[in-house]
């Protein structure tokens, strides 16, 4: 009897479910973006996954683009919830987009200043800058082959890890960059495919595209087209995929990628670059010295490249020149995207990073690139 009483008393502490939510009774927001609104301050655009009951084939999952203008994200969510058949749930949100105008105004810090836990958003969420209208962008990203958006995000993460053509834009790195003076933020730059793209931070012939090609496809409506560089919370420009890869080389996160450049006597060539050695960076006495070691595997045109003795030298000079150009552009924009500030911390173990931005303005950099051309068809 006593045992039964004790069990009954213990059961009293079962006071209902801790959180409501059958998985099937929610609409999962896969991504949401913020841009300036016409009526209210912001327009919140959501890409949501909704199950549809099928007749013969069975139920399917499809994505829908929802939009609402509001003063805050939470206001938009409440408004949308009132009109949808199921409540919105953000536990599957993998991507947050901010429009370029808002990013250039320095709104990123304020717009991300909400508790991700309040919406049950995973801290691993990606943040990107959108170069196009969000509705068009999401319609371009919708893909029947990947209704849950997972594969797209996984592919981007793989690119970030491997080639560095897409920077790592997780929320965590955003907070670290915004909260620290030691380096500046670089986020992926995504947009709808535009036949007339805008020039990037370096100007000139380069334009923001991953891989350098201009997409002309109706199926591929939107894609990552480069990276957005920030000076503190304010976006200051964009970089192409190749220049983002160069940043990765300096930061030490590059492992494998491609470059296309002009080789005198041969023309436009494509070479695969690899590295498995750490980049050596030291920042002393107002100068940053960077040494990068790469392996190059000729790809196109193979026969000409295999016989060309100038490939190594040309490649080294080309990369060094691009790095110098990139550093000048970043320096002019006051954006320490190469994260020299974090290296400087090593030199002053008993000091802080106070005043780094001032010192960065007068920092000079020299880049030494060593390339070893490998035999075609394999790494050593």
């Amino acid at each position: 009897m006593r045992r039964l009483t004790a069990i009954l008393l213990a059961l009293l502490s079962f006071c209902g479910c801790l959180s409501k939510g059958d998985a099937a009774h929610h609409i999962y927001v896969l991504s949401f973006g913020v841009e300036s609104g016409d009526t209210f301050a912001y327009r919140i655009v959501l890409l949501a996954a909704m199950p549809k009951a099928g007749s013969e084939e069975g139920a399917t999952l499809s994505t829908e683009v929802l939009a609402a203008e509001a003063r805050t994200l939470f206001e938009a969510i409440e408004t949308l919830n009132a009109g949808l058949p199921m409540t919105l749930r953000f536990s599957r949100t993998a991507l947050i987009l901010l429009s370029e105008p808002l990013a250039r105004e320095g709104e990123i810090e304020r717009l991300l200043d909400f508790s991700l836990g309040a919406l049950d958003i995973h801290s691993n969420v990606h943040v990107m800058v959108a170069g196009s209208d969000l509705k068009t962008l999401y319609e371009g990203l919708q893909n029947d082959a990947d209704p849950s958006f997972t594969k797209t995000i996984n592919n981007l993460d793989a690119l970030a890890a491997q080639s560095g053509t897409v920077p790592d834009g997780r929320c965590r790195s955003v907070w670290e960059a915004l909260g620290s003076d030691a380096f500046d933020l670089v986020l992926p730059y995504i947009g709808a495919n535009d036949p007339n793209p805008k020039p990037d931070l370096l100007g000139g012939e380069a334009y923001p595209k991953i891989g350098g090609a201009l997409v002309q496809s109706d199926v591929l409506g939107a894609s990552v087209i480069g990276s957005a560089v920030f000076d503190g919370p304010r976006m200051v420009g964009t970089l192409s995929g190749w220049h983002t890869a160069l940043l990765a080389m300096v930061r030490g996160t590059f492992s494998e990628g491609r470059t296309t450049f002009y080789l005198p006597g041969t023309g436009t060539v494509s070479v695969k670059l690899q590295t498995n050695r750490r980049t050596e960076v030291s920042v002393r006495d107002g100068t940053a010295q960077v040494r990068i070691r790469l392996k190059a595997v000729p790809e196109y045109p193979l026969s000409a490249l295999s016989r060309d003795p100038t490939l190594q030298t040309t490649l080294e000079q080309t990369i060094e020149a691009e790095l110098n150009r990139l550093f000048s552009a970043l320096s002019d924009a006051h954006a320490d995207a190469m994260q020299f500030g974090t290296r400087e911390l090593w030199q002053f173990p008993f000091g802080g990073e106070a005043g780094w931005k001032t010192r960065y303005a007068s920092l000079s950099a020299s880049f030494a690139v060593h390339v070893r051309v490998l035999e075609t068809g394999g790494a050593s």
Binding site: L18, S19, G117, N124, I153, N154, D157, E176, T342
Partner: protein, 359 residues
């Protein structure tokens, strides 16, 4: 007296000590001011660990020389008011050691997992578990610790190891800016580990010999402490001190931000709940230790009602501390620190010889 102490071997005691040390080391509330001038937590923990092992050895030696079975026996040998006062201080210290990790996990659960639930409902689910664990006794707790230790180690190793690609050495700097800060942090860390020392001294009669207590206790504290240091180093490699000042539940956040290519990418909540189980277990041990001490000192025949009562009190204190969190970390950490400081007092009771024979 039904003290539910039973008998347990050195391996079981080692497991209990390791888990309790790990839980108290990794999951206690920290004063955000600890990271004001840099992150010295991993240095401070090493110093605190060595000091607490030294205190454990000294305590065992004192009790052995005095011919006492355990700390309860020693307090019973003192004049009654002093004995009760010291026992109450020790019990309060152990209770606070049960409460602090609980408050930490409650915050993580309400902030990240059960956002819609109130803290009281979450605590209500944990109360029966805590009460039953404490009432089952040390023999059961020791064996349970042996089962839990490998699970906790594996979960911790996977969590810390999965984030290796994201660690950056520059986040460690600045290093050791202020020696006074280091000393203060070391003392704070020491106060976190002292309840484990008290637990070992209180439950010594069940360990079948002082040499087992010494051996298992030292090894357990060293293992738990080493893992705590490792976790703190990994935290320091993941977050700069400027972030740690405002970051709540940093160890959980560390596991959350696992690289997407990693197979353990959806591992964070499993890790959190495995740690919650370890914390519940650690709290159960502390509640039991406090109950045993009070029961022995006040000659209560059956420890189980005392254990259930103290478990309920600990749960209430967790809720109170959680409420204080909202008011500010400083107040909560101040209470935690002041309470842990009470564990210093009872160790003074170890001085002196046995006064009279007790049955």
């Amino acid at each position: 007296m039904n003290d539910r102490l039973g008998r347990f071997g050195p391996r079981e005691l080692f497991a209990v000590t390791a888990v309790c040390t790990l839980v108290l080391g990794c999951f206690s509330i920290r004063d955000p001011g600890s990271f004001r001038d840099g992150n010295v937590s991993y240095f401070a923990t090493v110093i605190a660990l060595l000091l607490s092992v030294l205190l454990l050895r000294l305590g065992i030696d004192a009790l052995k020389r005095g011919g006492f079975d355990g700390l309860g026996d020693r307090f019973r040998g003192l004049p009654k008011p002093i004995g009760i006062l010291l026992a109450a201080c020790s019990a309060l210290s152990m209770l606070l050691a049960a409460v602090l990790p609980g408050a930490c996990f409650l915050r993580a659960l309400t902030d990240f997992i059960y956002v819609e639930a109130t803290p009281a409902r979450i605590v209500l689910y944990c109360v029966p578990c805590l009460a039953i664990l404490a009432a089952l006794g040390m023999e059961t707790l020791a064996r349970t610790g042996r089962v839990l230790l490998p699970i906790t180690l594996v979960i911790l190793a996977v969590g810390l190891g999965s984030d290796v690609p994201l660690y950056r050495a520059y986040r460690l700097f600045p290093l050791l800016t202020d020696m006074r800060h280091l000393l203060f942090e070391s003392m704070q860390s020491l106060l976190r580990f002292l309840p484990v020392v008290l637990l070992l001294l209180v439950t010594a009669p069940g360990a079948q010999g002082w040499r087992y207590v010494q051996r298992a206790g030292t090894r357990g504290m060293l293992l738990g402490g080493a893992l705590t240091v490792l976790a703190e180093v990994c935290l320091a490699l993941s977050y700069r001190y400027t972030e740690l000042t405002t970051l709540s539940s940093p160890l959980y956040r560390l596991v959350v931000e696992i690289d997407a290519d990693n197979a353990a990418v959806r591992f964070d909540r499993i890790a959190l709940f495995a740690w919650t189980m370890a914390a519940l277990f650690g709290s159960g041990c502390m509640v039991y230790g406090a109950s045993l001490l009070l029961a022995k000192t006040c000659s209560v025949r059956d420890i189980r009602p005392v254990a259930v009562l103290l478990a309920a009190a600990a749960a209430t204190a967790v809720l109170l501390l959680r409420a204080l969190y909202d008011a500010g970390w400083q107040v909560a950490s101040l209470i935690g620190t002041a309470g842990a400081a009470l564990s210093v007092l009872p160790l003074s009771g170890l001085l002196g010889r046995r006064n009279r024979c007790e049955d």
